[in-house]
Amino acid sequence: MKLKYILALVTCLSALPLAAQVNAEVDLLKQQLQAVKDAFEKAQAESRRQIEELTKRLDAVAQQQSATTNEQQKWRDWMNSPVTPGRTPLPGERAWSAADPIRLAGGGAASYLNLSFAALVAAGGSTAKNIEALQLGGHDPKQRGFTVQNLELTLDGKVDPYFRGQANIILQIDSAGETVIEAEEAFLETVSLPWNLQVKAGQFFTEFGRLNPTHPHTWDFVDQPLINGRFLGGDGLRNPGVRLSWLVPTPFYSELFLAVQNSQGETATSFRNDHEGEPFLGRLHDSGSVKAFNDMLFAPRYVASFNLSDAQTLMVGASAAFGPNGSGPRADTQIYGLDFFWKWKPAHQHGGFPFVTWQTELMMRRYQAGAFTEDLDGNGALDATDADLNGDGLLNSVPREMLTDYGVYSQIAYGFQKGWVAGLRADFVTRSRRAAYEAVYGNDPDRDQRWRISPNLTWYPSEFSKVRLQYNYDRRSHIGADHSIWLQFEFLLGAHAAHKF
């Protein structure tokens, strides 16, 4: 019996380390199992997360796709449904009401008529007493306070398989508060004539130099260069007519233009213009009438362009305009112009920036002025039917003479960062010599020497708006120096016409 106990005791004692050994192994196994379990759960969680994310993205894509097809189906249904007041509007669209805009061009590919509106407004002032006389351009800011320079409605599109049409209707509010309307341009242009020809017909800007054929909202400065104002007129040289152009088959780009236009009116200031009864170049003018073919305005131009490097482009042109003027019989005007445009835009450009442009135009006008006497009725005595231009109580007369004037402007624009452009322009205009009429009536400010320096800074928040600050230092001989400062705003609605070079 005792032996039995002892045996049991011994067995128990000997089993003790064995039990401990088993326990340790179990723990180890448990640990391993836990590790495997953890890793498995982690992997599972990761897979689940990935599955969820992918499902979410798949759902989003599917939803987007079905939304698009639904949208397209709805659009198709809507397009096919009869036009009735009760027609179901598209989601996000109400039935049309009279207050809604009229859409002439459907979205996407349809393009029957591009409609755009550009508004150009300036604010500022000048030390000049008569700002209207200082600022030569018809769309320049002309008064202290605000000037609505140009409200321009542009319509353009393909007319049919043969023509492209464009119209620019301008509204302006003059200093008296009157709204003035101008049919600035309205022309058609052939699309694909043979022999590289192109015809433009209607009312259009004469292709003379670089600036004349462009609209004010595309200019780099608030106002028009002085040579353009003096020789081509405040509203630019433009008239009804026809223009032929030929793309010359040279290895580089070059184009030859010839325009034949009416030579009368205020938009042909150096030609048959009656200047509304006011004296011009010491004479009263009469616009007369067209008696022969050469009483029309003829304007030839040749322009060529060269790529100086990958980043530099040069464009040079020579223009002329010939036609009769209103100072008397056999009185003709000739205007000659040279223009030069250089642009640098590096191979790495972002939103069209940075860039540097340099634009220069030279012009010369030879104005054959007819003989003029204040004794309009020719009776030798000053009476009511005569014109005493200077009010001296004498009958003055001036001989037939050739008036030669010339001038230049040169401007640099530096787009240094997207949306920011700094500009500098220098203007110079002068007469070749004092004319006989100036000996009678005194120095004519329309011919006297003048120069101007204009630095400016423009910010384009987008391609559709701009804010510009410009300072002008003006020096007019026999008048003196003037300072002007202008702040200009622009906005553009609708189709943004692509830029020509």
Partner: protein, 304 residues
Amino acid sequence: MKTKLFLSLALGLTHAAVAAAKLNVVATLPDFGVIAQEVGGDNIKITTLARGTEDPHFVDARPSFIRVLNQADVLLEGGAELEVGWLPPLLTGARNAKILIDGPGRVVMSRGIRLLGLPTGPIDRSMGDVHPAGNPHYWLDPANGKIMAGQLAEVFSRLDAANADAYRANLKKFSDRLDQKIAGWTKALEPYRGVKVVTYHKSYEYFAERFGLFVVGQIEPKPGIEPSPTHITALIPRMKLEGVKLLLIEPNRPRRTPDYVAKATGARLLLLPDKVGAHEKVTDYIGLFDYDVAQIVAALKESK
């Protein structure tokens, strides 16, 4: 003497005829040009207008392009309003009936391609430069390269039937090579599927969709609008929260803001060519993706 003159004249004429037989193809973007070269081979002559480093929306309408377009048999344009800012006046100046809107040589490269980013609601310009026809940067999906090549083979065959077999063979070769390459690129980027990226402009949407990158946002607050401080200060915490790994910009973009954002978020700034020619090493269509995929893989390996 007379016969000699006639002979040389006749030779000159036949020479001109032979030269004219080569299709004169003008591409607005280098990417369209290189694909056309793959399909057209020696039977076409390619001239490209925009450079790979340029912003395709703001290319200068250089007058020399008028001359080039005047001589073109075929014009390859991107469509989806990509070139709306510069191509129309060039076409008016070029007076070439072959490449007018319904002309036999006018090719819109986006034809047949599913465009992303089609606006589904009303849009206006307060939303920035939104393209009503959809996102025009579609050539950055190599699968779209096959669609473009297919259309080109069709057009070239129609205009130059004598070489139709060559165009068909070139198309097959190019498509097969592209298929093989797409499989390779997909495999290379497989481990990084779902990686989050931010871009400058919505230029890489097609690339991201093809290779499984997740575009979280843009440096531009709205398409074509310059980054504003408000937008950037909101973007940075969002990028941190989302764990954005890469900031992808085209080589022509300004670096200052992207650099700042990359530093603030720890995302890696990568200059990723978006067009052929945007980097000197990227000279053809397949090379563009070879380069871009390698760049992304290298950057992600490093940031791991």
